[in-house]
């Protein structure tokens, strides 16, 4: 049949030509090892969901500008930050943009990366040897075969989490002590609820461990809430379960290890049902929702702008000078990623190649005293730095209720979780 044979001919032609492609394509992927680096500049770009993390880009730029101004980079180079590339929170776009940044824009590094969609691109940057620094909120930061990706607080979503931080429990302990309870968190009844997915299930185990490590009595621990993207229609079943978990009465503390939409749903539902205990979660530090999150203990991994330490005030000043008035978590994260990049560059020195950068970074310790870290690599490939802070909103502003501090890691021995030091405990 004529039509069939026409298509067949086309297909065969394509195949034949493809076979010959070996000769024609030549060195398709060759790149000079000094991509993005000249005698006078180092080219970097940010990457992430602009709509949410634009502030991170601005803060990173502020840090780069500062570094350029103070001649912090060895060899007299300046950092050429070409902007924050939008990945529209889409894995495909993220990958496409990463490829473009590397092959077309020829960047040396991608700083800061602020995107939970940065996954498949991880394999690419690793293959292409592109130093990548950012907030470790995607699994690419935790894949130990990715040697070029670093988080300023390490890998935050390891799966399975072999070395979670013992932070939250300790912070709650600190919180109670600051409230005047001399025994701290010891003996307090606590309910732990997480999203119903793998990370939620592991999250429950981890928080149970960190709560029990400071002597809390866990009366309810379930990964029960439907996880996003499906919204929960009605929180009543979960509220009920929690409110009767302490022998028919409410517990002293509730840990909401859940996504933002569930925090903003379950939290108020608990209050509506008459919950008078302590609500703690990792989402409530959100200036846009300060009114809604009043009274909740917000867990953050690094210090917030309200922190009174001199180092934090310094950072506030730098950012304000760059036009960022009320910096939020994303902004700070961007700043830290940029800062870490600068610090590593300083250590590498004049002779800069991706391989050299990687060698230094893989053994680096990143810290801004009282603000963020220390984060140790290579431990950071497997674990997040076990540091944090609690703050509380009074309806319009936040204040620190448990100061920034760093603690141990937890690890499973047999069926129990035990504490191990950071970073030595990471094998």
């Amino acid at each position: 049949m004529k039509r069939t044979s026409k298509m067949l001919v086309t297909a065969v032609a394509a195949a034949a030509v493809a076979l010959g492609s070996l000769a024609a394509s030549g060195s398709a992927g060759a790149q000079s090892s000094a991509r993005g680096v000249t005698d006078s500049s180092i080219k970097v770009s940010g990457l992430g969901h602009s709509a949410f993390y634009e502030e991170a880009g601005k803060a990173a730029k502020a840090r780069f500008d500062l570094a350029n101004k103070n001649n912090e980079i060895p060899g007299g180079r300046k950092i050429d930050y070409i902007g924050f590339t939008d990945d529209k929170a889409n894995g495909d776009t993220n990958l496409a943009e990463t490829r473009r940044l590397v092959t077309e824009e020829q960047v040396f590094g991608i700083v800061p990366v602020m995107s939970p969609s940065f996954q498949a691109a991880g394999a690419f940057v690793n293959q292409s040897k592109v130093p990548t620094l950012g907030w470790g909120i995607s699994s690419a930061f935790c894949d130990s075969s990715n040697k070029y990706i670093f988080g300023f607080t390490g890998c935050l979503v390891p799966n399975p989490p072999t070395y979670p931080g013992n932070t939250w429990g300790e912070l709650m302990n600190q919180y109670f002590k600051n409230q005047g309870v001399s025994s701290g968190a010891k003996g307090k009844t606590t309910a732990i609820i997480a999203d119903n997915n793998d990370s939620g299930k592991t999250g429950v185990e981890v928080i149970v461990a960190t709560a029990e490590a400071v002597g809390m009595k866990v009366v309810y621990a379930e990964a029960a809430l439907p996880a996003p993207p499906a919204p929960v229609g009605d929180f009543a079943p979960y509220v009920q379960a929690i409110m009767t978990s302490n022998n028919g009465k409410q517990p002293d503390v509730v840990f909401l290890v859940v996504a933002p939409s569930n925090v903003y749903g379950l939290g108020p539902a608990l209050t509506q049902a008459g919950f008078t205990g302590v609500d703690t979660n990792a989402v409530a530090y959100a200036p846009a929702f300060a009114a809604l999150t009043k009274g909740w203990q917000a867990f953050t991994q690094f210090a917030t702008p309200e922190s009174t330490s001199s180092e934090m005030q310094q950072i506030n000043q730098t950012l304000q000078a760059a036009g960022i008035q009320n910096v939020g978590q994303p902004g700070l994260a961007g700043y830290f990623a940029a800062d870490m990049f600068v610090q590593i560059l300083k250590k590498v020195g004049k002779d800069l190649t991706p391989e050299k950068f990687q060698a230094v970074a893989a053994k680096f310790k990143y810290q801004i005293e009282n603000v963020v870290g220390p984060t140790y690599y290579p431990a950071g490939f497997k674990a997040g730095s076990p540091c944090g802070q609690l703050s509380e909103s009074n309806g319009s502003t936040y204040k620190v209720t448990a100061e920034f501090g760093c603690y141990d890691l937890l690890t499973e021995k047999g069926n129990k979780w035990v504490t191990v030091p950071y970073p030595k405990g990471v094998k």
Binding site: R3, K6, M7, L8, T10, A11, A14, A15, V17, A18, L19, S21, L22, A24, S25, G26, G29, H49, A51, F52, G91, D92, T93, A96, R99, R100, E104, A120, A123, F124, S139, S145, N159, N196, N197, D198, S199, A223, P226, A227, P229, A230, P231, V232, G233, D234, A236, P237, Q240, A241, M243, P260, Y264, G265, Q272, A273, V283, A286, A288, F289
Partner: protein, 979 residues
């Protein structure tokens, strides 16, 4: 007990939202035949508007609410009705589904694009962008009640522990109000009666003066008001973002299905039940002593979809009249019809050569070929392969499958698992097969191609498994079933650790093709990958072409065209459907493996079910009927954002245009709009290109074919086509002529030189007929003479090619049927002019608004009075005919056209009908009567006219119509030498 009550009452709050949404969906489906997948989009858009008014512009809650629900939402509904439904109402079911999916995709993106890119960035208005809310999910607008919401506890009712806030209470109250109002509107008002009549028999409704466009518009406005109301109620209970709204409304689909997609009260009740069921399952799940059930992640989210599936099994079976339609679906014209084969293939051959040449570096534009190959061409071709599955299931099979994304994921998972590549979770040596099979497994790792085939097979098996139980469902039910299935798989199956490898998914690395130990092809080179994908695409296209020409392919076309006819010819529609579905799933699965290859990995969230919806809009835009469309669609999807960015970066491009182009919302909006526009045309954009040429070619052929068709009727016999009776003679016969041969008094019915037909076949070749006041003109003739066509032309159901129709001197040629009805024309059609779904009383109400007139009708036909509340479909034939004539006797119309009124009636009943006609004549009605039984006709006719071959060949007073003429008229044919 406390816990139970608690769960039930607060479950009813969410349930009330489902009820409101479900009612709106049922309303539009029943009144316009379009199932509005975009209901959620309207809810979101309304909530967004409310948010902008209230939070953005600080307009107080109540005015914001009123503006949103009673002004914005209905206007949006009206706009949708005018712009979209006009195109979709007569389209095949799959096009209607795809069109509304297009709205679902386009509308939220359009609105956000308008606000973000146009109004804020360009015009500089001070509106709030949703993206300012960062990753917290979106703002929480205030609700209808007091702000902040007050909490009500119900201890005084004995319901200790039950608490509702004012927003939740508001939902309850509003839902109850809505239920009552809807009932009143639909059952007790004129508008509701017209809507129900139209749903029952649409053509008849327009013959009875009900304007179908107006009724449909009202139904849509009402339904969109409900959607808007629902949106405003949802907003304070969740966060304002599009996906959340989508999910809440998708969940209400279960309530719609439980209501059989037809009953609004049932939809209401089902919605409440759904909310309660969700709560009870969430609350008692851990009490069930079954470990697997307890641990099943994602069960709560999947509940509405499980219920939807179950409901569809029960109500989804095609219950409509199977026999009785000539064609379920006429294939849309192929604009390449009539072109020689080489001419069709040439553009694609050129395209392929150019593509391959570019890939191999024959020419270097644009700047970075490597990037283009690896980021546009390779993923685009992988996607094109996936889109080929749409060509099979929708283009060939006419089914809408909303689960293609699921098959892609399944295939990708299977292939990825077979490849067993290590990742952080599974370091070596997990990743190795322990046995060797030549060509399949070697050194612990599986041949890449075999792994992909496994993926395709797994997906095909899944497809067959899915298709078998749903094989007898109609198009809409099938689409909904695949939709439900996709979500169940997403929430429960793919979430499972063992199946989906956690959040890592499965990794893919570029294979190399080794022939005889020498590395021949390295697919990590972008050019090789692109050529390889192109080859795969070509092979699958070949497969599809062969399928179309194979017996199975033809069987599928047969089933689409008329499933009843197909069955009687021995084709099993169910088997063909299942096979096709499985094949499509297999192609999608293979595409999944290709996708994984070009994107490094396949995870649960690589391709969620929502993406499947977006894909449909993309494929339909370019044409779902042909593989070429799939190719263009795939490449466009990956190339579009890049093209916009390139355009935006040109220095001559003004800033505001750049903002418009690079906005996140721009591309999905375009594809959504494309789908809306092109849903009807299976060749999408490609057709628009070829359409002009087609029109020209058609015109040339038209003239020749008309003559051929007619002569063919007589098997090539030489026929002297008789002359038509001239107009002057007609008028004279009817008694209207003045001495000089022109008309004196104005005839009530006048058809002058009417030429009309169906499509290419002309049936009436210049007919002139007139009927005067108080006169009965009877039309006789053989089958095929054009009698029924003439009746339909008079009423306006068949359009006229040339000539005029006048009613009492008013030219109604261009008027729609309902407008002619309002001018005083009543058509009693061939199969009884009653609404079988309405009661006798309601049937009369359609034409007789005044109760006094209805009383008169009952007087005239007492038996109708006895059966007042009975559904008209249950009456006997005679009673039905009485019912259809009763309004005429109560208020005599100026003109009555009766098409075989005594057909199928017993002699006594026929008598009653003839009596009624006599009575009407006595009251002054002009009657044009078509009858099969000449004897009956002779009793009542004043004038008799004979029709033959689409012309009136003789017309005269009854007495002059003798037996010989009658016989000739009925047996047809020769009038040789007649004067």
């Amino acid at each position: 007990m406390q816990k139970f009550l608690n769960l039930v009452i607060s479950g009813m709050v969410t349930g009330a939202i489902y009820s409101i949404m479900a009612s709106g969906l049922v309303l539009t489906y029943q009144s316009s035949g379009v199932f509005n997948f975009a209901h959620a989009a309207v809810a979101f858009t309304s909530a967004y508007f409310y948010f902008q008014l209230n939070t953005g512009q600080s307009i107080p809650i109540v005015p914001s609410l009123v503006l949103t629900v009673f002004v914005f939402a209905p206007l949006l509904g009206l706009a949708l009705d005018r712009i979209v439904l006009g195109r979709l109402a007569k389209a095949p079911m799959y096009a209607r589904i795809v069109g509304t999916i297009g709205i679902l995709v386009a509308l939220p993106n359009l609105v956000q694009w308008l606000v973000d890119a146009v109004m804020v960035d360009w015009w500089g208005l001070d509106l709030t962008k949703l993206s300012e809310y960062g990753d917290s999910g979106g703002p929480i607008p205030p609700g209808i009640g007091p702000t902040p919401a007050e909490v009500y506890r119900f201890e005084w009712l004995g319901l200790d522990g039950v608490n509702l806030n004012s927003n939740q209470l508001a939902v309850f109250i509003v839902a109850a109000l809505v239920a009552v109002l809807l009932y009143l509107i639909i059952r007790r008002t004129r508008v509701g009666l017209e809507m129900r009549a139209q749903v029952d028999r649409e053509a008849l409704a327009s013959l009875r003066g009900i304007n179908p466009r107006r009724t449909s518009a009202i139904a849509w406005m009402l339904s969109m008001t409900l959607a808007g109301l629902g949106g405003v109620l949802i907003a304070p209970l969740f966060q304002l973002n599009d996906p959340t709204f989508l999910f809440v409304v998708f969940a209400s689909l279960a309530a719609v299905a439980l209501a059989g997609m037809r009953s609004i009260p049932l939809a209401f009740a089902a919605g409440l039940g759904l909310g309660v069921a969700q709560n009870l399952i969430a609350g008692y799940r851990r009490d069930i002593p079954w470990r697997f059930f307890n641990d099943l992640s994602g069960l709560e989210s999947a509940v509405p979809y499980l219920i939807l599936l179950a409901a569809l099994f029960v109500v989804g079976r095609e219950r409509g009249r199977a026999a009785g339609s000539v064609s379920d679906e006429k294939p849309a014209p192929d604009h390449r019809a009539g072109l020689p084969s080489w001419r069709r293939k040439l553009p694609w051959a050129i395209f392929t050569v150019v593509l391959v040449g570019y890939t191999l570096g024959a020419f270097g534009w644009p700047n970075n070929p490597i990037y283009v190959r690896s980021s546009i061409l390779a993923p685009g071709l992988a996607l094109a392969i996936v889109f080929l599955s749409f060509v099979v299931v929708t283009g060939i099979g006419g089914m809408v499958s909303l689960a293609q994304a699921t098959f892609v994921t399944a295939g990708g998972y299977m292939a990825g698992w077979a490849l067993q590549l290590s990742d952080a979770r599974h370091p070596p040596p997990w990743s190795e097969w322990s046995f060797d099979i030549p060509f399949v497994v070697h050194n612990g790792s599986m041949n890449f191609f075999v792994a992909c085939l496994l993926g395709a097979l797994a997906a095909a098996a899944l497809g067959a498994l899915v298709a078998y139980p749903i094989r007898r469902m109609g198009t809409l039910a099938l689409a909904l079933a695949t939709f439900a299935l996709a979500w169940v798989m997403y929430f429960i199956v793919f979430q499972n650790d063992g199946v989906g490898n956690g959040s890592f998914g499965y990794a893919f690395r570029f294979p190399t093709l080794n022939l005889f130990g020498i590395e021949t092809l390295d697919f990590s080179k972008a050019s090789t990958l692109v050529c390889g994908l192109l080859l795969v695409f070509g092979v699958i296209t070949l497969l599809i072409h062969n399928l179309q020409r194979s017996p199975s392919g033809r069987a599928m076309f047969a089933v689409r065209s008329s499933s009843v006819a197909a069955q009687t010819s021995g084709v099993s529609p169910a088997r063909a459907q299942v096979a096709l579905f499985a094949l499509s799933a297999g192609i999608a699965g293979f595409g999944g493996a290709m996708y994984g290859l070009s994107n490094f990995a396949v995870t649960r969230d690589s391709v969620p079910p929502i993406t499947g919806l977006i894909w449909i809009t993309v494929v339909v835009t370019f044409g779902v009927r042909r593989p070429g469309g799939a190719l263009l669609a795939g490449l466009s999807y990956t190339a579009a954002p890049v093209i916009w960015r390139e355009l935006a970066s040109f220095s001559w491009m003004p800033d505001f245009l750049s903002e418009l182009l690079v906005s996140t919302y721009f591309t999905p909006m375009l594809f959504g709009l494309g789908a809306i526009n092109l849903a009807k045309n299976p060749d999408g954009l490609l057709a628009m290109v070829g359409h002009r040429g087609l029109e020209r070619r058609r015109e040339k052929e038209r003239k020749a074919r008309i003559a051929e068709a007619e002569l063919g009727l007589h098997h090539g016999e030489e026929v002297v086509v008789p002359d038509a009776v001239p107009e002057a003679q007609v008028l004279a016969t009817v008694g209207l002529a003045t001495p000089d041969g022109t008309a004196g008094a104005v005839p009530v019915i006048l058809l002058e030189d009417v030429v009309a037909g169906y499509g290419d076949v002309e049936v009436l070749h210049g007919v002139t007929v007139a009927v005067e006041r108080g006169q009965v003109v009877a039309l006789l003739g053989a089958n095929g003479a054009g009698k029924s066509t003439l009746c339909n032309v008079t009423a306006g159901l068949v359009p006229i090619t040339s000539g005029t129709v006048q009613l009492s001197g008013v030219d109604v040629t261009d008027l729609a049927p309902h407008a002619r009805a309002q001018e005083g024309l009543l058509l009693v059609p061939e199969a009884r002019g009653i609404f079988p779904g309405l009661t006798v009383e309601e049937n009369l109400q359609v034409l007789l608004r005044d109760p006094a007139l209805r009383a008169k009708a009952y007087e005239r036909f007492p038996i109708l009075g006895e059966r007042r509340k009975q559904v008209a479909g249950l009456l006997s034939g005679g009673e039905q005919q009485m019912l259809s004539l009763a309004p005429a006797l109560a208020t005599p119309p100026a003109a009555l056209v009766a098409d075989e009124p005594t057909l199928g009636l017993a002699p006594l009943a026929a008598e009653v009908v003839i009596d009624a006609l006599r009575e009407l004549r006595g009251m002054g009605t002009a009657i044009l009567l078509v009858e099969e039984k000449a004897s009956e006709v002779m009793k009542v006719a004043d004038i008799v006219a004979f029709m033959e071959l689409g012309r009136v060949v003789w017309m005269g007073p009854r007495d002059e119509a003798d037996d010989e003429r009658l016989a000739a008229a009925y047996l047809g044919g020769t009038h040789r030498g007649e004067a």
